[in-house]
């Protein structure tokens, strides 16, 4: 089947019920989205399908209609997205394993709600678990990214 990831069309030969995460990671070697729980509880696998954040670990690949964007497609080390820049400036990451998912959730939030309230941030980001406890800096980085995007 065809799968468009980060603007590139792939032909993949996998079981249709295979979760998108495992198509990305093991079939396409796109390892930015992480495996954390397999039951949509931790958010480490968050990617965008047509701009909407989804938990790739429970999203069957056959249900994908449209474009998949992973953290690699959001921005690169040489050309980071505003959310990624804010993450670097706030020095958010510790172990870093959850951060791909955190950043994808934050980017989706700001795309639909450019000036989120504290409650909006709490709501949008509480599906992403961080075991290292970087939440205070995640909160600061989401606010900083919103400001950055507002300035253009």
């Amino acid at each position: 089947m065809k799968l468009n990831v980060n603007g590139i069309e792939h032909d993949v030969d996998v079981a249709p019920e295979m979760p998108l995460l495992w198509v990305l990671r093991d079939a396409l070697d796109i390892t930015g989205p992480k495996f954390g729980c397999g039951i949509a509880m931790c958010g480490a696998c968050t990617v965008h399908v047509n701009g909407q954040p989804v938990r790739a670990c429970v999203f069957p690949v056959s249900a994908v209609t449209g474009e998949v964007t992973t953290i690699e497609g959001l921005g690169t080390p040489d050309a980071m997205h505003a959310v990624q820049q804010a993450w670097v400036e706030e020095q958010v990451a510790q172990c870093g394993y959850c951060q791909s998912g955190q950043i994808m959730s934050a980017a989706a939030l700001l795309a639909s709600n450019p000036q989120p309230s504290d409650d909006d941030i709490d709501q949008a980001m509480s599906g992403n678990l961080c075991r290292c406890g970087t939440y205070p800096r995640i909160r600061a980085a989401v606010r900083a990214a919103a400001d950055k995007l507002a300035e253009g």
Binding site: P19, T31, M41, T76, A93, Q94, C95, G133
Partner: protein, 746 residues
């Protein structure tokens, strides 16, 4: 002259025998450094000036041989080398490097001596210095015990200084001028006329220079990098999905495996039926292991599905079948037979309690899982008589040992690659996943295989933080405690862990009483006794180890005594404090939190102080008692690390340690039924979420006399500060974790 030399040497040996005890025989061996492991794998044109500095035409690489599992250690260790070498962190590559005894941790055993870290007397310091000897011979490259900074602070700077000295010597030869006419600046030697020779152009010549044993180090006042908040070397990779964790290893032709082991940990597998699984899509092989199987497939998800389709006949667990029964066993071990240590016995506690109004009680904590967000995984390839292992491990040298045992290969034929770790917290000091991955590689010789656990396998096959029970009796007079008898019972983490590593561990396990017996409080009659419950379910180090439970026990008890004495809990702690840096953190947190200031209705503040891993940490937490439950309002923390190498990183570690501690305090509990762990994923073993976490204000102090690590010490005061705040807000004293069992949280 020759004779004089002999005598001097003999005298030295005798002198060192007095200090080093039975190890004097090996003194020369002790002083002799391990070989530089980088030399074995150098390519044409590469030089390794020390085990920590490799230079080739592409540039300079600093080796930071400790597990980067979130604590920022690669950045700070690299900064220590870079400071002396005279390079900017932006201009060098930082990598973990190979597994080698050359990277042994000389500070790892310091915590095991029965002297409080506040004790800087000759006996205590002598005992600590002595632990460097067995640490050397153990040759354990290990990350843990918040020891990377105490271990690396001088060593890494000396490595940078030695390399700089060799580069200067090479430049001196080339230019025909004395070293004193040269200086270094940003990766180059600079001559008096301002001309520069880049390090990369000097590396080959520098490699043949003699490395100084004890190079001079810059004074603190000349530091450019140390003491400043530096951008983490891994932050861009971790913000763009490009940092490579163990689970991200990709190799040509690689297959993907998972395992299914007896859910009764350590129990046998009698038989299994994999007929259905073998016929499933993508399945390549099913391999019997000791106590379970591995399924190898073309995709991890195919391996997971096939493993679920196997029917097993499992044997019983080699421990009591429920966590309730295990807690009962812990409760039954407060007897002379199980007494493990009594490192503190001031005054006469029994006598002091005879006539007094005794305050007494029992505290409990449950088993806990590490639940690193990156599930256990490792990749291995056995090909042409060489084994490569890629594993996020806190003990790379142990991987070599296990690999030799499984494959029969020589150590020289084994390479261990240590990528970033998605959390460690002590879990990645265990070898279970590594042994499985190597066994799979042996069965699949010639093909690289990545073995990844499901979250369910991970949660149910941890080696846990043990449950523990504390009992206390105390008495107060004149607004302060006059007697405290604290008894602590749990399973020995050290015996369980060292047993699996094959390292003998004799004597009392200090971790049973860690951060309870050694607190810098002066109480006239003060006794702390540890009791060792016989081994049950496997247990291991979990962030802050014994301090993770003992902080809650000790500081809950101190709070109860303050209330009974009618004293202000923070003022009373200050009045008991016998250690100046500890007094200062309490004063700092009082100021930060406006302790004693007005509070809204239904709000309460709690304080806790815990001295762990040589770090004094005081925390105040404010909660609100709302109709929906307890809401966390604010957290303040002051901590003293002696020397703060990277303040912003320390702030992050303190915040993270507190959140890890609050997660355990509020929600964390592993239970066992029918020999199996009942929590299988984050739906039943969750962490705090962003919406539940308040602001955490941090103050880092530098009054302590030694440099300390900060990965763990933030954690222990979190639970008692919260429980004490709940008492202040509600009048409800909760003596058992998780708190959620007793009170609702918003």
């Amino acid at each position: 002259m020759g004779k004089l030399k002999t005598i001097t040497r003999r005298t030295l040996l005798i002198g060192s025998a007095a200090v080093a005890g039975g190890f004097a025989v090996g003194y020369w061996q002790y002083k002799r450094p391990y070989d530089n492991p980088l030399l074995a794998d150098l390519d044409e044109g590469e030089s390794a000036l020390t085990p920590y500095v490799r230079i080739d035409q592409q540039g300079i690489t600093i080796i930071t041989p400790r597990a980067e599992m979130g604590q920022g250690v690669h950045t700070t260790l690299a900064a220590l080398v870079a400071e002396e070498l005279g390079v900017e962190l932006d201009d060098v590559t930082v990598e973990h490097g190979p597994a080698s005894k050359a990277y042994f941790n000389e500070a790892i055993l310091e915590e095991a001596v029965p002297f409080a870290q506040t004790d800087l007397g000759r006996m205590a310091e002598g005992a600590r210095a002595f632990t460097k000897v067995p640490a050397k011979f153990l040759g354990l490259q290990v990350t843990g015990g918040s020891s990377s900074m105490p271990d690396g602070f001088a060593k890494m700077r000396k490595a940078g200084a030695a390399a700089r000295s060799m580069l200067l010597a090479a430049a001196s030869e080339r230019l025909g001028v004395g070293v004193e006419a040269l200086s270094v600046d940003n990766g180059a030697v600079v001559a008096a006329d301002g001309s520069r020779i880049a390090y990369v152009d000097l590396a080959a010549a520098a490699a043949s220079q003699r490395a100084p044993n004890d190079p001079d180090l810059k004074p603190h006042s000349e530091w450019r990098l140390l003491g400043r908040s530096l951008p983490r070397v891994d932050v861009v990779g971790k913000s763009t999905g490009t940092a490579e964790f163990g689970v991200d290893i990709r190799l040509p032709g690689m297959l993907y495996a998972t395992v299914k082991m007896n859910p009764r940990l350590g129990g046998p597998m009698f038989s299994f039926d994999a007929d259905a699984a073998r016929a499933m899509p993508g399945v390549k092989d099913i391999i019997a292991l000791d106590g379970g199987v591995a399924v190898v497939a073309t995709n991890s998800w195919y391996a997971f599905k096939a493993a679920d389709a196997i029917v097993f006949d499992w044997g019983d667990a080699p421990y009591p079948s429920t966590s309730a029964a295990m807690l009962e066993a812990i409760g039954a071990s407060f007897t002379d037979e199980y007494q493990d240590s009594r490192h503190r016995d001031d005054g006469d506690v029994d006598d002091a309690l005879v006539e007094a109004d005794v305050i007494e009680g029992e505290y409990r904590v449950p088993f806990l899982a590490h639940a690193t967000l990156e599930p256990m995984n490792a990749t291995a390839l056995l090909k042409d008589g060489r084994l490569d292992v890629w594993a996020g491990t806190q003990v790379p040298t142990q991987v070599i040992k296990e690999a030799v045992a499984i494959t029969g290969l020589d150590e020289d034929a084994i390479r261990v690659h240590t990528p970033y770790m998605g959390g460690g917290f002590g879990r990645r000091a265990e070898m279970d996943i590594v042994k499985q991955a190597i066994s799979v590689a042996v069965a699949m010789e010639g093909t690289p295989v990545k073995t990844t656990w499901t979250r369910e396998e991970d949660m149910t096959h941890d080696q846990y933080r043990p449950a523990a029970i504390a009992r206390f009796r105390g008495a107060v007079a004149d607004g302060r405690p006059v007697a405290l008898d604290l008894q602590l019972a749990t399973v020995s983490v050290i015996a369980s862990q060292m047993g699996r590593l094959g390292i003998p561990a004799a004597g009392p396990d200090v971790s049973i009483v860690q951060s309870a017996w050694d607190q810098p409080y002066g109480i006239e009659n003060y006794r702390v006794t540890g009791y060792r419950t016989p081994a049950m379910i496997p247990v291991t180090s979990w962030r802050a180890v014994g301090a993770s439970q003992n902080g809650f026990f000790h500081e809950g008890v101190i709070d109860e005594l303050a209330i009974a004495a009618g004293a202000d809990p923070l003022e009373m702690r200050l009045s008991l404090m016998t250690h100046e840096p500890s007094r200062r953190v309490l004063q700092a947190v009082a100021e930060m939190s406006d302790w004693g200031g007005p509070l809204p209705a239904n709000h309460g503040k709690g304080v806790a102080f815990v001295y762990s891993f040589g770090v004094s940490v005081a925390q105040v937490i404010e909660v609100a008692n709302t109709s929906a439950g307890i809401r966390l309002i604010d957290v303040w923390v002051a901590a003293d690390v002696g020397i703060a190498l990277d303040p912003r990183n320390i702030e992050g570690q303190l915040q993270g340690g507190i959140i890890f501690g609050l997660t355990a305090a509020i929600k964390g509990e592993i239970t066992v039924a029918d020999g199996q762990v009942e929590q299988k994923n984050f739906n039943t073993y969750d962490g705090l979420r962003l919406r539940q976490v308040p602001g955490i204000s941090v103050n880092v102090l530098e009054n302590g006399s030694k440099i300390r690590g900060i990965g763990e010490p933030g954690l222990p005061p979190a639970a008692p500060a919260l429980a004490n705040a709940i008492y202040a807000a509600t009048g409800q004293r909760i003596r058992e974790l998780p708190l959620e069992k007793h009170i609702n949280f918003v």
